[in-house]
């Protein structure tokens, strides 16, 4: 087993990996940019190295710097987390060349599966059903237009190197094409240093269901069942759960088998995820494979009891999988809500800034994977994710009730977060019934929310009025001439019959 692992990431996922290492008795090496000196992943690590200025392109994305720290610190392996260098085959190759073990698949598997277009080719050859579209990146606007017309609008523009909803645009009509292409390419460039995109037919009202797999270098594979990830906003997952209400044991087995075949075709090692679209007749289409740890992996951990990060590390160290397919049991129900520093009541505007107070939910069945603490200043340079709140319940009903309870306990002030948004989703009738697809949030939920009556306006106004009253009283007291006994100066002007006394 490794004695020291470098974690080439920041935020909640770096902390998650450090926790696994610490529990395994492995020393951790953190890297940090100039704005991240106070970050939790630095505080929790055994060693920490400064790697440059705040922009990721000058720090977390610079391969030479990461490799330099690994060598200097004597780290035998690197865990890339998700995002940043996690699916960069150049980085994987460099690690292979330097004799440092990258905790993840080989550069070859990454290239095969990491390029969405090559992945589509590969799995299609293995007989896996895929969504219609291009298998090559497309460079010019003219070509995008030509192919889109051929497939028929609506189409999806997707970054070849993409993930996490970045570099992704739905194009409904020809008129939207120009600006969508610009935005997709620009986002892809800044997120993945690669602005190439491809096109897929847009399947109407699909559900997004994915299969978590594990594979070792000895050719053993298991799948850890499915995650339901249809609750998305702007094509980005925001709530995930396991199991999915639409997946029967038969479909689960079939999807699991296909996912393992896809992984085997790429000689895949480590943890990976095959994403599928499931249409209204429960046909499933391979969408892409994510060759890394997913944001939503805790959902699977809570229903299977498997620590996926520890499995990744053991696999990277050359060990055999610690469990066989028949030992994988999905018990109860788990849900994850991604807590972002965004304002759900102002068009989800990003809200970096200082966390002035924090209360984390607790009690039975609640897991909080956070990258922040009270007093931390969330920088503007990185993803807005600050925490993942995950709950387990004996069934979906208990899990939803528990999530609602936990969200209500969660207090973050100083920055706006998506916690209120999640509470509203947990109260939505369609969500409770399990009746939704990937368009649910934009097409059903938001319109329903605009119509909903809010029950506590009176309490809201009263609380504000008391706060305003106390603020005015405080200023009145502060403003009184020295030596005056009573705080009346500002107040006496409003004196008239029936005026409340000031005690």
């Amino acid at each position: 087993m490794f004695r020291k692992i470098l974690i080439a990431n920041r935020g909640e996922i770096a902390v998650r990996v450090e926790r696994a290492c610490r529990e395994m008795g492995i020393r951790t090496v953190a890297v940090y940019s100039e704005v991240d000196r106070h970050a939790l992943h630095v505080r929790c690590a055994d060693e920490a190295h400064l790697i440059g200025p705040p922009p990721a392109t000058e720090s977390y994305l610079v391969i030479d710097k990461i490799i330099g720290v690994a060598k200097q610190s004597g780290a035998e392996a690197i865990h890339p987390g998700y995002g940043f260098l996690a699916e960069n085959p150049l980085f994987a190759e460099r690690c292979e060349k330097e004799g440092i073990k990258l905790i993840g698949p080989s550069a070859h598997s990454m290239r095969t599966m990491g390029s969405k277009t090559l992945a589509r080719k590969t799995v299609q050859a293995a007989g896996v059903p895929v969504v219609p579209g291009t298998v090559e990146p497309i460079a010019t606007e003219e070509e995008v237009l030509r192919i889109s017309k051929k497939i028929g609008f609506p189409v999806m523009l997707k970054a070849t190197a993409g993930g996490g909803g970045k570099g992704l645009r739905l194009v409904k009509t020809e008129g939207d094409l120009h600006s969508s292409l610009r935005m997709a390419k620009s986002e892809a460039k800044s997120a993945f240093s690669d602005d190439s995109v491809y096109i897929e037919k847009y399947i109407e009202n699909p559900r997004h269901v994915e299969i978590q797999i594990l594979g070792d270098r000895h050719g053993n594979y298991v799948h850890l069942c499915e995650r339901e990830c249809s609750i998305q906003r702007r094509h980005q997952k925001v709530i995930e759960e396991s199991p999915s209400v639409i997946i029967t044991p038969g479909i689960r087995a079939a999807m699991g088998k296909v996912a393992i075949e896809a992984a085997r075709a790429a000689r895949y090692e480590g943890a990976g995820t095959c994403e599928f679209l499931v249409d209204q007749d429960r046909n499933f289409f391979f969408l892409e494979m994510n060759t890394r740890l997913q944001v939503e992996h805790p959902v699977t951990e809570m229903v299977t009891g498997v620590d996926i990060v520890k499995e990744q590390i053991r696999i990277a160290a050359g060990e055999r999988l610690s469990l066989r397919q028949e030992e994988v049991k999905q018990t109860g129900h788990a849900i994850e809500c991604r807590v972002y520093a965004e304002d759900p009541d102002n068009n989800f505007m990003p809200c970096p800034g200082l966390i002035t107070s924090l209360r984390t939910p607790g009690g039975p069945g609640v897991r909080d994977d956070s990258g922040v603490f009270e007093g931390f200043e969330i920088p503007i340079y990185y993803d807005p994710i600050i925490s993942k709140l995950v709950v387990w319940g004996k069934d979906r009903e208990e899990a939803v009730a528990r999530m609602k309870r936990a969200l209500n306990e969660y207090v973050v002030t100083g920055v706006k977060t998506t916690i209120p948004f999640h509470i509203r989703v947990m109260n939505n009738r369609h969500f409770l019934e399990g009746n939704f697809d990937t368009n649910f949030i934009d097409r059903v939920f938001f319109p329903e929310e605009r119509e909903r009556e809010l029950p506590h306006f009176e309490v809201a106004v009263i609380a504000a009025a008391v706060q305003l009253y106390l603020g005015e009283r405080k200023r009145a007291i502060a403003a009184r001439p020295v030596g005056t006994g009573e705080p009346v100066s500002m107040w006496k002007y409003s004196g008239r019959p029936g005026m409340p006394k000031i005690l």
Partner: protein, 166 residues
């Protein structure tokens, strides 16, 4: 003390009377209620309204309030009755809307207009990036771009003046 809350088109008069340590009688629309209010964590208040317990996050920007209760956001303005009367007398400073400000800290990635250019109401004028998301900010009024206060690539604070439309 008397306050006027404005919720959409509706105005409600609210009277706050302090009757003990952290206890108030609050009268809204003629009804009086005993309220026990304690600030427990930064902007978070524990409110006992009668015996009903609420945890309430009160956020204020000038006269505008956003109050979170059980995941719902209540937006309204609240002013001291006298100040409200003064502001009514003075009329509204409608020109304020012509200033485009940054709603969050971030980096200016693109100016979509130049000084002197005519813009329509709701037209995108500038793109600010924060947390890897690009946000297109729009002009609130139609007019001519009078002044641009920032350059592409500049890092701006929340509330920073970006450009002025007249």
């Amino acid at each position: 003390m008397n306050y006027i809350a404005t919720i959409g088109e509706r105005e409600i008069k609210v009277t706050v009377e302090e009757v003990g340590v952290a206890r108030y009688v609050v009268t809204g629309d003629g009804k009086g209620h005993l309220v026990d209010a304690h600030q427990v964590q930064d902007s978070v208040w524990s409110i006992l309204y009668g015996t009903n317990s609420f945890e309430v996050d009160v956020q204020r920007r000038g006269d505008e309030y956003e109050v979170l209760i059980d995941g719902d956001c209540y937006k309204f303005t609240l002013m001291n009755e006298q100040l409200k009367a003064l502001s009514r007398a003075g009329g509204k400073a409608a020109a304020g809307k012509a200033l485009v400000t940054s709603p969050m800290p971030g980096k200016v990635v693109k100016l979509l207009v130049a000084e002197g250019e005519e813009v329509k109401s709701d037209q995108g004028v500038i793109v600010v990036e924060a947390m890897k998301m690009e946000n297109e900010l729009k002009a609130a009024v139609a007019g001519k771009v009078k002044e641009i206060f920032v350059k592409e690539g500049e890092v701006v604070e929340s509330g920073a003046k970006l450009l002025l439309v007249e």
